[in-house]
């Protein structure tokens, strides 16, 4: 019988010449519990082995960059909350820094300390979420529950601080929207204790777990060269042996006054990408402890401008979010609205090597790779 020749799905280049195997295509997503949103992957499989993987994006492309052109700079801040909503403070920070650079606004010391504390809390909460998803996607539902339990404590702090649990919109050019409440420091101290305990629990429950190790060691290896070539940043890059962290290598805010290390791993496999998150939380706790000791009294914001009009030119500011480098590129022409705003999103670059990483692995490993890349689709599609 003659085989019906179907056209190849979009994005695939050639068919393999091997006649002994039967290859087929499978569609994963856009609605799939393990793709963290609406990512769609088309996989070419041989049995259960992935031969090729082509991602399709855009299912949550919300046109934020176009919309930004008809909003003022301050209004744009709240749209960045909705890109990578697990690191919304960090996205806000990057926009505020770009405005501060362009208009020349300084930030008082107290505001900087508040910012850094909030950022590190945000980092911890994002990493906790990653643990939860990592465990949950590999079938360890307990981890999901544990991760969320601790995350709620941090969310409560944010709730008290700015009234929102997820989309905070707390940073302003020149400082923050309001001063920290009296309970803030006490609550942070409690979080530090809690999180340290949780990390131990996690280490016992997940890191040493045989099943987790079997399923993540040697899976989805991203070499140092590939990580750089694909523009990966954040934990993904550092797990592949490149110790680049904006907080250390291009210090912004007050990170150069604080004492912390940049954890690095060498193998670049899924297990390393997971473990590095634990080490990062430990460093974040160190930063928090120093901030608690050093935070000065004073104003939480410097003088407001009636409206932010950026002089013509292009401005760029980047922050190291929990996922990698989030950059805001502003092109200003005239008026109080940007001519063009572009966000360099970390998840976009971190996802791009996935085709290379899952090649030759089993279909179940695709899930492991996606969770350890710690991607978030609305940030990719914007």
């Amino acid at each position: 019988m003659e085989m019906v020749k179907r056209p190849l799905p979009a994005g695939f280049q050639k068919v393999s010449g091997d006649d002994n195997t039967e290859e087929y295509f499978i569609n994963m997503g856009p609605q799939h519990p393990a793709t963290h949103g609406v990512l769609r992957l088309v996989l070419r499989l041989d049995g259960e082995t992935v031969r090729e993987c082509v991602p399709h994006l855009g299912y949550i492309h919300r046109g934020i960059e176009k919309q930004a052109e008809s909003e003022t700079y301050l209004q744009y801040v709240h749209l960045t909350d909705r890109m990578d909503y697990l690191t919304s403070h960090m996205n806000n920070h990057s926009v505020c820094m770009a405005i501060e650079k362009a208009v020349g606004i300084g930030v008082p010391d107290r505001a900087e300390y508040i910012r850094v504390m909030v950022l590190e809390l945000n980092r911890i909460s994002s990493h906790l979420m990653m643990f939860g998803c990592f465990g949950g996607d590999l079938g360890a539902q307990t981890a999901l529950l544990y991760g969320f339990k601790e995350r709620e404590v941090i969310t409560d702090i944010f709730d008290e601080l700015c009234g929102a649990r997820l989309t905070m919109n707390y940073f302003r050019p020149g400082g923050v929207a309001n001063d920290i409440p009296d309970t803030f420091i006490a609550r942070v101290k409690k979080v530090i204790v809690d999180v340290e305990r949780t990390l131990e629990e996690f280490d016992r429950l997940i890191t040493g777990n045989v099943i987790i190790q079997e399923r993540s060691r040697g899976i989805g290896i991203l070499t140092r060269e590939d990580a750089i070539a694909y523009g990966c940043t954040g934990c993904v890059l550092r797990a592949s042996g490149v110790p680049y962290d904006l907080r250390k290598d291009d210090p912004y805010s007050i990170y150069d006054r604080l004492d912390f290390d940049v954890p690095t791993k060498q193998n670049g496999d899924s297990f390393d990408r997971y473990v590095i998150h634990i080490d990062e939380i430990r460093q974040s706790i160190r930063i928090l402890q120093q901030c608690i000791e050093q935070i000065p009294e004073g104003p939480y914001r410097s003088k407001e401008k009636p409206s932010y009009r950026l002089p013509a030119g292009s401005y760029y500011a980047a922050t190291e979010t929990a996922k990698g480098i989030f950059g805001t590129y502003v092109v200003a022409e005239k008026g109080d609205k940007p001519w063009r705003i572009h966000s360099r999103s970390p998840n976009f670059a971190n996802l791009s090597p996935i085709g290379k990483m899952v090649k030759g692995h089993m279909i179940a490993d695709v899930v492991t790779v996606i969770t350890t890349l710690d991607i978030l689709i609305p940030d990719i599609d914007r």
Partner: protein
């Protein structure tokens, strides 16, 4: 449901068209409303709150809905958590059709109610889930807190208990025969009418109050004084790696014709080297390169050990109405320096009717040097209609293949965009 239909009716419809809910259906509805199985569907931010609702702190299982299923065929509730885009609308409709009835829809968050923060000036977001699916309960918020989700869930349970019955074949019939209507405009009309009634009532109440208290004096509003904040001088950045001047000299030695991009300095005529110094450390080196030297320069920047700008951090474009700028940002992860460079592409001459849908410029691809450029260039192609010659896979990245126009261009027109009225 099927078997139940075959049972003899216990109570007949009452005169006047009403149905008396009989004991069996009461029990079935009670059971049904307390074990709603939701689908694990979430597109964006609201999904996190949905997950938080399922997590230990809030614990959705108190209301019998903890069994999140990944397959639509096992669910009877879809919580629309997150923005729905035009591209996702099709798959979403498929998901809904695959669910087994009776099925319910909760619209969670502003996005699914009306488009939310993406209502104005947006070309890709569906302005309300009820344009695609019949929504049972709306939960406002951006994102709604888990408590609000529970409130919505309880309302849905109440709705099931009150409205479902054995004889009521539920709205299954309606959905499969009638196309989804635009409930938004109906709701808007009803809302308008309500507002008018409310205004009138208020005016009447005010008049009555005045009549009864003729010498009443309203309180004067006191303006809250905003705290006075000091002006703080901006501290310059302290970037690591080579200084701008060093970089500029190294690059100029090889490519003497390059021009510095110094819009920030205004109209002052300064030499490029002086400008690099004047712009200080805050400024990242940014220069223009002619199209014919574009790839050569990129190769030079990547492969010179002194520069070792081995990571392509970003590649994007800007539409300056008469020309495009393709802006590339490079970073050296080993040494710390970063640069921008840009190539200015004049727009091709085409007739005004064709312009919005035509490819207006082309430039060689960088995807051979950096695999990272592959997707970035596809994004620029998708958003600006700039062609990258030599690119291995030049397709749209975000929009569907049949999308008309290039959204980030300044001349992009889309009749569906709702313009901000102010």
């Amino acid at each position: 449901m099927g078997l139940m239909h075959k049972l003899p009716p216990i109570v007949d419809p009452l005169p006047g068209g009403k149905t008396m809910i009989d004991a069996v259906s009461y029990i079935i509805n009670w059971a049904r409303s307390n074990s709603i199985w939701p689908l694990t569907y979430g597109t964006s931010c609201c999904a996190i709150e949905m997950m938080a609702a399922a997590a230990p702190r809030y614990d959705i299982s108190r209301f019998g809905s903890e069994v999140f299923r990944a397959s639509p065929r096992q669910c009877d509730l879809i919580i629309l958590a997150g923005t729905i885009t035009e591209k996702m609308a099709g798959p979403l409709k498929t998901l809904y059709d695959q669910m087994s009835g009776p099925k319910y829809v909760i619209a969670m968050g502003a996005c699914t109610i009306s488009g939310g923060p993406f209502y104005y000036d947006n070309y890709s977001v569906v302005k309300g889930a009820d344009r695609i699916l019949p929504v049972d309960v709306y939960i406002p918020g951006c994102p709604p807190r888990p408590e609000a989700l529970f409130n919505g869930l309880l309302m849905l349970q109440e709705k099931i208990r009150k409205t479902e019955s054995l004889r009521n074949t539920w709205h299954e019939h309606e959905i499969y025969t009638k196309p989804a209507t635009n409930t938004w405009s109906d709701a808007a009309k009803a809302w308008d009418a309500l507002e008018k009634i409310k205004d009138q009532e208020q005016a009447e109440a005010r008049a009555k109050f005045k009549e009864e208290n003729p010498d009443y004096q309203a309180f004067k509003a006191v303006r809250v004084v905003a705290p006075a904040f000091p002006e703080v001088p901006r501290k310059p950045d302290r970037p690591r790696g080579k200084s701008n001047l060093e970089l500029w000299k190294l690059i100029q030695a090889k490519f003497p014709g390059l021009k510095l991009y110094k819009k920030e300095l205004g109209d002052h005529e300064v030499s490029d080297t002086a400008a690099v110094e004047a712009l200080g450390t805050d400024y990242t080196l940014d220069f223009e390169v002619p199209v014919d030297q574009y790839v050569a320069l990129a190769t030079f920047l990547k492969q010179t050990p002194d520069l070792s700008l081995e990571m392509l951090l970003d590649l994007t474009a800007v539409d300056f109405t008469d020309h495009f700028d393709v802006v590339v940002q490079l970073l050296s992860v080993t040494q710390g320096q970063k640069v921008f460079f840009r190539v200015s592409l004049p727009k091709k001459e085409v007739s005004p009717e064709e312009a919005p849908t035509a490819i207006l410029a082309s430039v060689p691809t960088l995807s051979g040097l950096w695999p990272a450029a592959n997707w970035k260039e596809r994004e620029v192609y998708d958003m600006f209609g700039i062609d990258f010659t030599g690119h291995p896979d030049m397709r749209r990245l975000f929009m569907e293949d049949d999308f008309v126009g290039y959204p980030l261009r300044k001349d992009f027109v889309n009749p569906n965009i709702i313009k901000r009225p102010y």
